[in-house]
Every structure is written in C-alpha cells, then in structure tokens.
C-alpha cells in the first residue's frame, strides 16, 4: 500500500511538471500548445547527448537541457503561434499549427536519433534504495520528486512575486488591457513560452532518467495524460495542474492495484470526461472562459 503511494507520487510529480507547462501557455494565450510533448522529448535527448557524448555530469546537463527547452519554446511561439495572433479563429488554428510543428519535430527526432530506445549511461544516476516503512524508495525517485517540487515552488514564486510574473498574469487576464498599461505583450508571451517549455524539458529529462528510457515517441505517451491533468486541475491554474498531476498519478496507480492494469489509461480519460461534463473548469479553474 505504502509502496503504491510512493509509486503514485513519483509518477504524479512528472505529470504535474509536464502539465504546468501546458497550463501556463493556456492561461496566457488561451491556446493549447500540442508541440509541448515534442519539446519534452527533444530535451530528454539533449540531456542524453550532453551526458553520453560530452560526458557532462547530470548537474550540468540538466539545467542546460532545460535552457535548451526554453529556447525551443520561444522558437515554437515565433513559428507556430505568433503569425496567427491576429486571426479570429486563432484558438483552433493555433492548435492545428502546434500539431503540425509537433509532427515536424517528432520526425526530426526520429531522423536524428533513430527509433531505438536509448538509455543514460550506467552511473548517471544513483542506484541506491532506501526502505521507508513497507515501501522501497530509490534515491532517484526521491531526487526526482524533490526537483519537481522545487521547480514548482520556483515557478510559483516567479509568477506571484516578480515583475515578470505580474506581467504574465496581466496578459493572461486581458492582453488588451495589459498593452494599454504599457506591457510589451509579445515579449511577455515569449517569456511564458520560455518558461512553459523549460518546464516541459525538465519533465522530459526527469522522465527519461526515471524510467531510463528515451525514445522519439515518448512524448505521445504523456501528451494525452497531460491533457487529462490540466482539465482536472482547471485550465490556466497552476496549483490546479500540480495538484491534479499528483492526483492522477495516485489514481492511476491505485486503479492498477485494485482493478487491474487494463483500465489504467481509461481512467485518465474517464476522469477527463466526467470533469468536462460536470465541471468543465476543473478543480481550480476560473469559472468562465475568457473571450478573446
């Protein structure tokens, strides 16, 4: 039982980190960035390259990969979203545009790295485990959960307490008003994408480390779960994404334990459905959808 809780928290922390990125962009732009999972995947490979080929220590590789993710996020914004900003149907066309970019990036990943699963070289991650109560927790798991929490905390601080955070919140509330107040909306959006994709990159590297498995299709697996998380937590709500991420992780794990694993994925979508039907704004989301 305790073991399953550990499993759930561990899985959930990665879901939460990934979903935070999604929800940040949605909060600011009202757009779902489906290229998020491609950044997730590519930055896991960046970390792999840094550690594997350049023999950097993970302490150096992780922030570098996260930085790369942030920059890639800005590219995604400039290529896929910025040109569409004026359009009336920018929600749907933005979605489609991000799907297109995701496909391109995935294909690039496949071309560059091949279809085989890669793993981090032996010794990249600590191997030890510790027994707490009846559960076995590996050092790696503790580190990952800790990093996820730290990143979430840093993000919250940034959004709540800094000037950039205030600007981001202003744009999320109303870009027009923000512009009138002198905020450079374009820059703020770019910053939001930077942060969002940095989060995605962090999630990707941690995921790759956690399961020692980096492959060009790793984003697909998490993409749909990520959607369930942000719906459950409420689109645009960061605490919502965090809480819902952990909740989904735990829910999945206990579904497996009690009902059997066949329905594990169905649970995520079942929850998604129920939430959309009963309470579309999720646990923490704002009640009304902002009009463009």
């Amino acid at each position: 039982m305790g073991q399953q809780i550990v499993n759930g928290l561990f899985l959930g922390s990665i879901y939460a980190l990934f979903a935070l990125g999604y929800t940040l962009v949605f909060g600011v732009l009202d757009i779902l960035n489906l290229a998020h999972q491609a950044v997730f995947m590519l930055c896991a490979y960046v970390a792999l390259l840094l550690v594997g080929s350049l023999h950097l220590h993970m302490f150096a590789a992780f922030p570098l990969a996260v930085l790369a993710g942030g920059l890639l996020g800005v590219v995604v914004d400039r290529v896929a979203f910025k040109p569409l900003r004026g359009r009336s149907d920018s929600n749907i066309s933005g979605l489609i545009s991000s799907i297109a970019l995701a496909t391109i990036l995935e294909a690039a990943g496949l071309q560059l790295f091949g279809p085989d699963v890669e793993r981090f070289p032996l010794g990249t991650v600590p191997d030890r485990s510790v027994q707490i109560g009846g559960a076995i927790v590996s050092e790696l798991q503790v580190v990952i959960i800790a990093i996820a929490l730290v990143v979430m905390g840093a993000l919250t601080f940034l959004v709540q307490r800094t000037r950039l955070g205030r600007r981001i919140r202003a744009v999320a509330e109303s870009p027009l008003a923000a512009r009138i107040l002198g905020v450079n909306v374009d820059r703020v959006i770019a910053a939001a994408f930077f942060l969002s994709s940095a989060l995605g990159a962090a999630a990707g590297v941690l995921f790759g480390l956690a399961f020692n498995n980096v492959a060009p299709d790793m984003g697909r697996a998490v993409e749909l779960k990520g959607l369930a998380v942000i719906i459950l937590g409420g689109m645009g709500s960061m605490p919502g994404a965090a809480v819902a991420g952990f909740a989904l992780g735990l829910l999945e794990v206990f579904t497996v334990a009690k009902l059997g694993s066949s329905y594990r994925d169905a649970i995520a979508f079942g929850v998604l459905f129920l939430v959309l039907v009963l309470r579309p704004h999720g646990l923490f989301g704002k009640a009304a959808l902002r009009e463009a």
């Binding site: 749907i92 496949l110 689109m235 169905a266 979508f269 459905f273 959309l276």
Partner: protein, 300 residues
C-alpha cells in the same frame, strides 16, 4: 502498353487509390463539425465502432454487404447523440479534448474486449469492398454536402461557424445543427471504418489511434474547409505525396523513414500559416494575385 501491363499497373496501385478514397471519407467526417466551427477529434472512435460492427456482422450474420455497411454507419451515429449532448456545450479546445478522450476510451474498450480478441482483433475478414464502392460512398457524401451548402441549413451552419452567439439570437437552433453535424461525421467515419476493414482483411484497435485522427485533421485542413470538397482534395494530395516522394526518393537514394510525417507536418504548417483556406483556395488566390496587378483592389 498492353492489357496485361495495364492490369498489373492497376493492381500495383489499387490499394493507394482505395486509400485515397477512404482518407477522403475520413477527412470529410472531420470536416462536418469544422463546418460549424467545432473541432471534434474523436473520429477514430467512430471509425472503430463502424469497423468492428461491420466485421462482427460479416462473421456472425448472413446480411448482405450494403446492409452491413448501413449498420456500420448507424451504430456510431446513434452513439454520437448521447455523446453530443454533454460535449457540444463545450467551447473550442475543450470540445477537442473531450472528443480525443472519447476516441481513446473507445480504443481501450476494444483492446479489452475478449469477444473480439482484444488487441489481436479479427482477422481473415473477407474482402467485400471494391474500390468503386469506396468512391461511390465518397460521391454520395460529397453530393450530400454539396446540397447542404446551398441550402438554408448550409447558411445556418456558416452563421454558427462565424459567430455562434449572434446566430443564436437570430433564432438558429445552434445545438441541433451542431449535433446533426456530429452525427453525420460519425456516420461517415463509421462507414469508412467498415469499408476499410473489409479491404484490409482485418480489424484491430491499433488502427484507431489519436495519430490517425491527427492525420484526418491534416487532410481536412490542408485541403481547405471553406469548400465542401476541400478535405477530399487534401486527402488525395497527402496520400499521394508520400508515394510520389518515395518513388523519387528511391531513385535518388533517400530513405523514406521519417520523411512522410515530416512532410505531412511541414505541409500542414505551411498551409495553416500561409494558405489558411487550404489547397482549394490556391487557384482563387493565384487568380487574384495575377488579376490584381495594375487593377484597383476588388472587394474580397
């Protein structure tokens, strides 16, 4: 070219021709909801329902093929109704996500259904589909959509697409129209599903993934959603393109590999950024660009 080599040519490319038609039907099924401004991404689920219904009926009943096809279109259409009520209330992105969820739930359902061998699916399905049937179905679908366009219902749909709240205040029953389009799309997807299953000899859940829906969406958008036959054009173009590239590539020594999805993605991106009304709007744009030189700008 003699008769024998013509026959061989046909047989070689028969499946490509068939898939162009099937993809056309699928693209149209995505288009039906796009036509009233909704993005429904659950077509894979409807397609799966149609495919399985068709296969099960073929194995367990002696019904003639047209009846089987009708049933395959009917089952997802009926299911679209209870799905539509809660889901069509949602706006834009939420609707898209909800329908993605629906599609996945259907797929997982079939993966776990012992009656149809779960992931193994059903094999040795007799090949009851002929290529002309696919194009007949496509023709009928296009015809229906064409008549719809010019009719009052068609205008209502456009109004809903442009500005739903305004359309409502004008007395248009937006809910009913959106539901009707969802049902129509479901029927088309189901029909395509059954036709495909009886062409490829098998039905299995792995066919009906989210990736498949994305493909259908790409066909519809690239073709162009402003005109009723746009998606079919998109389907034809994008089904042919990889084949052409492969032929060219193999002469030049390129590997197909990731090329196909890369090209799909690139074409989609270029279209959405620079040619948002799709390929079908290309002739009009070129015409305008050429005619506009030196002449005063005309009203759009």
């Amino acid at each position: 070219m003699n008769l024998e080599s013509l026959r061989d040519l046909w047989l070689t490319y028969q499946s490509t021709v068939a898939f162009i038609g099937l993809n056309g039907l699928l693209a149209l099924s995505v288009y039906t909801t796009l036509a009233c401004g909704q993005l429904s991404l659950g077509q894979a689920g409807f397609m799966a329902l149609g495919g399985y219904t068709g296969a099960i009926l073929t194995f367990h009943s002696a019904l003639p093929y047209p009846v089987v096809l009708a049933a395959a279109a009917l089952v997802p259409a009926l299911l679209a109704v209870p799905l539509g009520f809660p889901v069509l209330r949602l706006k834009g992105v939420f609707l898209a996500i909800a329908t993605i969820g629906f599609g996945e739930v259907v797929r997982i359902f079939f993966v776990n259904l012992e009656f149809t061998n779960g992931a193994l699916g059903l094999t040795a399905v007799p090949q009851r589909t002929r290529v002309w049937m696919i194009y007949a179905a496509l023709g009928v679908a296009l015809f229906v959509l064409w008549r719809l366009r010019g009719s009052r219902a068609g205008y209502a749909l456009e109004a809903i697409r442009e500005d739903e709240p305004a359309a409502r205040t004008m007395g248009i029953h937006a809910d009913a129209y959106k539901l009707a389009m969802l049902v129509l799309g479901a029927a088309l997807a189901g029909l395509a599903g059954a036709l495909e299953v009886h062409f490829t000899f098998m039905v299995a859940p792995s066919t009906y993934s989210f990736a498949r829906v994305v493909e259908m969406l790409v066909y519809a958008v690239v073709g162009g959603t402003a005109i009723f036959f746009g998606p079919a054009v998109g389907a034809a173009f994008l089904t042919l393109l990889p084949e052409v590239l492969r032929e060219v590539g193999s002469r030049v020594g390129l590997q197909p590999g990731p090329l196909r999805p890369f090209v799909n993605g690139l074409v989609l991106l270029l279209v959405i950024l620079f040619l948002p009304d799709g390929i079908v709007s290309l002739p009009r744009r070129l015409h305008r660009a050429l005619a506009g030189r030196g002449a005063a700008a005309h009203a759009p």
